[in-house]
Symmetry: C2
Subunit: 415 residues, 2 copies
Amino acid sequence: MQRNTGHCTNVPRNVNMESLRNGYLFPEISLRELEHIQKYPDSELIRLGIGDTTNPIPDIITSAMAEYARALSTVRGYRGYGAEQGNKELRQAIAETFYEDTGVKGGEIFVSDGAQSDISRLQLLFGSNVTMAVQNPSFPAYIDTSVIVGQAGEFQEETGKYRNIVYMNCLPENNFFPDLSTMPRTDIIFFCSPNNPTGSAASRLQLEQLVAYAKAKGSIIVYDSAYSVFITDGSPKSIFEIPGAREVAIEVSSFSKFAGFTGVRLGWTVVPKELLYSTGFPVIKDYNRLVCTSFNGASSISQAGGLACLSPEGYTALNAVVDYYKDNAKMICDALASVGLKVYGGRNAPYVWVHFPGLKSWDVFAEILEKAHVITVPGRGFGPGGEEFIRISTFGHRESIAEASRRLKSLFIHN
Amino acid sequence: MQRNTGHCTNVPRNVNMESLRNGYLFPEISLRELEHIQKYPDSELIRLGIGDTTNPIPDIITSAMAEYARALSTVRGYRGYGAEQGNKELRQAIAETFYEDTGVKGGEIFVSDGAQSDISRLQLLFGSNVTMAVQNPSFPAYIDTSVIVGQAGEFQEETGKYRNIVYMNCLPENNFFPDLSTMPRTDIIFFCSPNNPTGSAASRLQLEQLVAYAKAKGSIIVYDSAYSVFITDGSPKSIFEIPGAREVAIEVSSFSKFAGFTGVRLGWTVVPKELLYSTGFPVIKDYNRLVCTSFNGASSISQAGGLACLSPEGYTALNAVVDYYKDNAKMICDALASVGLKVYGGRNAPYVWVHFPGLKSWDVFAEILEKAHVITVPGRGFGPGGEEFIRISTFGHRESIAEASRRLKSLFIHN
């Protein structure tokens, strides 16, 4: 695509964009998938790679969206721009459904088109002069957006890390929770729980330690709770369940996995009024300004759907879908454990994290694809801490999950 | 809201956010509106401020969205994540509908949640080390997002301008087109045509000059064509109608005003493959990477609606709505001209730009609100070049527009 014969502008390429390594993980996996299909056109490929929801959305929710959409053709039902921060009723319903007893108010909730966009907006909010820490492994968007806004510094080939980013190792040996006593201070701490990709949910005690650490160091936690509905063991579903979190944390969350809204696009970010910059200026004021300037609100139809998700009937129906995925996760975990693999996650998250000590994750990915015709995600795509691991998404129809379990079991029995 | 008694983090406030002046324009107007309603609870306020569509969306379009939404409840119709760049069929349809004979291909179109988000993403793409020019007056998001990414430099109270931004005066005396011969070079030139707020559409000759200028200076034009469907005088509707534009321009556009999608949220950005950085690296590659990293695609339901907009029936129905607004604009223009006011715009745009020589625009805004109970937009909100002007949006139901015309006429006859 590079054309040296044509006109070049005199506009310099953004050095931050230039600093991004490789392709973004999921497009790269899509390429591998395409190559595989070309090689084996008749293979019945099972996709447990990208964590994409597969079950239909309960009718009560899609009916609400359809009804809202249809009403846009009527004089009474037509609505133009909504508030940039989201529909007031939806903000209130999110506060009541997910933040009961935590003190989070509707006015602190910013409805968005999804967590990925919000992560990018938060990076833009903090700018290039802050330092950040991220779980290792972690969802690639935290680091990539950090690079794009210019916080990350030079990439170091030997370690696979950016110089200015602190990588918090979350590995089986530390029970997937970083050793805070040895961690260098950063301004921002991205923390995803249940974690993507490890599937590990931080316990109440761990989160209390994290909040105390942030308070002592003057850091801001950006807590990603996009998978919190999958928690089954009583771990906190929001950072705001921890006393003191309102002074040190922002929370990003999403309807994507909870409601099958990956394509519908709806999420939110909570910025508590007590969260202050070093000058005493409230973070929420700047975030509000940013949202009003660089975003124009989530789709009104998606927001109507979000409201239906939080109705008693919608909420009950969605929990049944989540339970279905949880049963999937159990099936995959049991199959892999039965052939002696070291399996993590799956209990509080739709991701199963499988350890292959001594192996390279892209090699394991390639072998599983080649021999079992199953797409997974190589752990290395989530950072150097994922090198010996494979992430398996357990979103899928039951028959596919059962078939994948059989294939994986059979592959690893013979290994 | 500032609480000096609570815990402050040690995170510095982003100096770029600190550099933003005042509130964002439209929230400020909303505050004035609220105050007015409290003062005159029985006044029949007419809102011609924010350019918000008011007419119902043709049924063929909302039916397509409703049908898509409903199908998400079925195993066959359920879809999760779509491509970050947008639905392929929609990208193709946009290319065919709006870019026939310009060489723009579907693969160069990035479907988004709207032009405002795209402007912010483009600023992030170029980063803090580029210089930019903007029309004066212009839609505030260009400058505000420039400040947020750190391009703008210090704000100078005496001029009302940011030090590093070049303000291209677009005033009646230069026929709303900048004098390129005296303009300092910048990397990026934001250019909106038909312009918001002046309502002026650049002619083919003017755009040829602009493209030639950008080519000679090695600049990139970010062309905002969000109002192009309102063009009636044969002026180009896309920068890509100008030969050579593919090497120097990006185009941002939107379904908001064309299809009444202000709340539905759908837009797009065109990045031609021939557009290269000074190093020869294609801009489209970085933009694609940025979109994949910090955005997860527009709502699939909105995209289904977008596709219906571009069907022959949808397109015809929408043009009837646009014609309705054009008739509104004519009514307002005629009324104001009949009392001797200097009226611009309205012919190729849904905005009427009224000159009040020697007056301050916030004073005129306040007088119109106080005496005619009509919300407009003070031109100063669009930059120093708007100081003596008022923008009147002509989106509205016919009766409101007729009533507003009467009230304004009566106000200014007695002035």
